[in-house]
């Protein structure tokens, strides 16, 4: 039982880490998706030159940003730098989108950078810190890019190919709906490109050439599973996911940028069941009603899908029925799992408390670029220690990066209180201060608060 619980916590931690790498970069995904829908081959205003820009955005910018974010999470700015160089090694070795690989090599590079810095800093002679810092980052970057190129890229390619073969086998034995059991998780983990480009699109084009349509174009692009998840969060969720879900629905369903719902699944891996159930239901419905599209809709918005539906009432109704069915099933499963999501959240809080030995978490925060919150955090920590207070931890991070705020006490400048309230609705208390360096509130604050 304990082993199961520990395993679950590890899965949740991995999902958290993956989600934390994607979320800060969602804007880049949105830019990429929107440009694809505008200037891609099947976009609203197809343009070859701008399509190259879109390709470069997806091929280079997105993985490097994910890699940098992952490296920064574990190794700070220097970790992010090394991770960026390493990610380029991965991009060079692989033809497909390298997002999952970036999510592996990024934090790994950051961790190695942090470890090397800690181990070797004390051996550096005074006066040589700058030179050693710069050269060590360069050498680490070279090393990690070679690890990515020769080591990680072949593994990711193999995983992607294995998934494509599995999906192909299911299609060959006429179990097309079950292909979504592989496609949906692969999609959320950014492993779906081999399936798309290597299997679904080529086979789909062949089918469409003979039959005028192919169901294979709908397997991965059906927006129903993601829509169901987002609707469940919007109605039954809590905190930031609940507040951000409505906007995400618009971006996902109308904009066709499916990546927007991936963090919602990664953060709570039980949600994989919802997307799988929704995907299988949708493809089953399309198969039952003999529905397909004329070409691959890129991006997968409901608008693109309807534009590529063969012009008959039966086809339009069939597409809408399949999307609706997958949405309803995905929504129902996600809604049923939502109480487990709350349990996971509570578990995370318990884990955090356990990690802090049940200590009260105090955060002093401000906007990015402010140095006074960090000074205020030290002042508060000193005052609490001088009073003999135990069982607390004081951290500082910018408002935009607040996390693990459940049950925390947050100190922030008066004019930023509302901003923090939006960002950390689960905090125990948010205390406004006039001056981080000499707040009366520090003096009167006690752990019995």
């Amino acid at each position: 039982m304990q082993k199961n619980a520990r395993f679950r916590r590890h899965i949740i931690a991995v999902g958290d880490a993956l989600s934390d790498m994607v979320m800060p970069n969602i804007g880049a995904f949105i830019a990429w998706g929107l440009m694809l829908s505008m200037f891609g081959k099947t976009g609203w205003f197809p343009n070859t030159d701008l399509a190259t820009l879109v390709t470069n955005l997806g091929h280079y910018l997105l993985p490097i940003m994910i890699g940098y974010t992952g490296g920064k999470m574990t190794g700070g700015q220097r970790g992010g730098l090394v991770a960026s160089i390493a990610t380029l090694g991965l991009i060079t070795a692989m033809q497909d989108l390298t997002l999952l690989g970036a999510m592996i090599i990024g934090p790994l590079s950051g961790w190695i950078t942090h470890y090397m810095d800690e181990e070797f800093r004390r051996h550096v002679r005074q006066g040589f810190e700058l030179i050693v810092n710069n050269f060590s980052a360069g050498f680490l970057g070279i090393g990690m890019s070679l690890v990515a190129y020769f080591g990680l890229a072949p593994i990711i390619s193999w995983m992607s190919t294995a998934l494509a073969l599995a999906a192909n086998w299911l299609i060959n034995i006429h179990l097309i709906p079950l292909a979504n059991v592989i496609v949906e998780p692969a999609k959320v983990l950014f492993l779906n490109n081999a399936i798309n480009h290597g299997l679904l699109n080529p086979l789909g084009k062949e089918q469409a050439a003979h039959l005028g349509q192919s169901i294979l174009f709908l397997i991965e692009t059906n927006p129903g599973p993601g829509l169901g998840i987002l609707m469940a969060y919007a109605i039954f969720g809590s905190g930031t996911p609940k507040r951000s879900a409505p906007a995400a629905i618009v971006i996902h369903f109308l904009g066709g940028i499916h990546e927007i719902y991936f963090p919602y699944v990664l953060k709570h891996p039980t949600m994989f069941l919802a997307v799988i159930a929704g995907g299988v239901t949708g493809t089953f419905t399309f198969n039952l009603l003999d529905i397909g599209l004329r070409a691959d809709p890129a991006p997968g918005s409901i608008i693109s899908i309807l534009l590529l539906t063969p012009p008959s009432l039966h086809s339009y109704l069939g597409v809408l029925a399949g999307v609706a069915a997958s949405t309803i099933v995905s929504f129902a499963v996600a809604a049923a799992l939502m109480p487990h999501v709350s349990v996971e959240l509570k578990q995370r809080t318990t884990d955090l408390a356990a990690k802090n030995n049940g200590a009260l978490h105090i955060i002093v925060t401000g906007t990015a670029g402010m140095g006074s919150p960090a000074m205020g955090a030290r002042i508060l920590q000193n005052q609490l220690q001088q009073r003999g207070t135990k069982n607390f931890s004081v951290t500082t991070e910018p408002i935009s990066e607040l996390h693990d705020t459940r049950g925390a006490i947050i100190f922030v400048r008066n004019d930023l209180v509302e901003l923090v309230r939006d960002q950390a609705p689960d905090a125990q208390d948010i205390i406004g201060v006039q001056n981080y360096l000499r707040a009366e509130q520090y003096r009167h604050f006690s752990i019995a608060h």
Partner: protein, 221 residues
């Protein structure tokens, strides 16, 4: 007429406060007062209060410089304490300059303790130069909130970067050991930024960021 000129102090990218320099208007120019002793501690504090009231919101600290004789003068301790009570939302920092003037370590420690009791911060200016050497610094550390390192003292030296880095490392470590904030002043060029970047000062100031400017006050002092 006397007024304070303020030089910007930054913490990361935030304008956190000002270092205030007393200037006297004579012969059509603002100059350092020839005779500091002709101003009383009360006049000094009144001007400080008026200056603080004229500063924009968001400023969190101001520092003023006192030589050893003024630093240990009980009237300054009392008047600056009054200023701190009046301007309770502003942290006032008393910078003890490095100019030796015969004050004993005991007198300096007693004065620093008195400032601390009144919630004023004490900063040791130009650590490693003049009277503010390691023995004084260590003796005063329980009553001090900042060590300030002056880059400008090394600008005229050859091998600036190689010479100043060990000093920065040493004083950064002293600040860590004694749990005080580390301030670096004297940034004038990009080289200064590159050299000092590794020493993570909580507060920085210098001509590179801004030159001192006159702070107009509303009331008559």
């Amino acid at each position: 007429m006397i007024r304070f000129w303020g030089q910007d102090k930054y913490s990361e990218r935030e304008l956190i406060g000002y270092e205030l320099f007393l200037r006297e208007y004579t012969d059509g120019q603002w100059r350092f007062p020839k005779d500091f002793g002709k101003f009383t501690a009360q006049e000094f504090a009144d001007l400080l209060i008026a200056t603080i009231e004229a500063l924009p919101t968001g400023v969190q600290l101001v520092s003023i410089n006192l030589d050893q004789p003024e630093f240990i003068d009980s009237s300054y301790i009392e008047e600056l304490g009054r200023a701190q009570r009046v301007c309770s939302d502003m942290q006032i920092v008393v910078e003890l300059t490095e100019r030796p003037a015969g004050a004993t370590i005991t007198q300096l420690i007693d004065a620093a303790s008195a400032y601390k009791l009144q919630d004023l911060w004490v900063c040791l200016d130009d650590v490693g130069t003049g009277a503010n050497q390691i023995d004084l610094v260590q003796a005063m550390s329980p009553y001090v909130m900042e060590y300030k390192f002056a880059l400008q003292n090394y600008h005229n030296k050859r091998d600036f970067a190689t010479l100043v880095s060990p000093q920065l490392q040493f004083w950064r470590e002293q600040a860590e050991i004694n749990n005080v904030f580390f301030v670096i002043e004297g940034f004038e060029t990009e080289t200064d930024l590159k050299v000092a970047a590794n020493y993570h000062a909580e507060i920085v100031q210098g001509y590179y960021y801004a030159r001192p400017h006159l702070i107009q006050i509303k009331s008559q002092v």
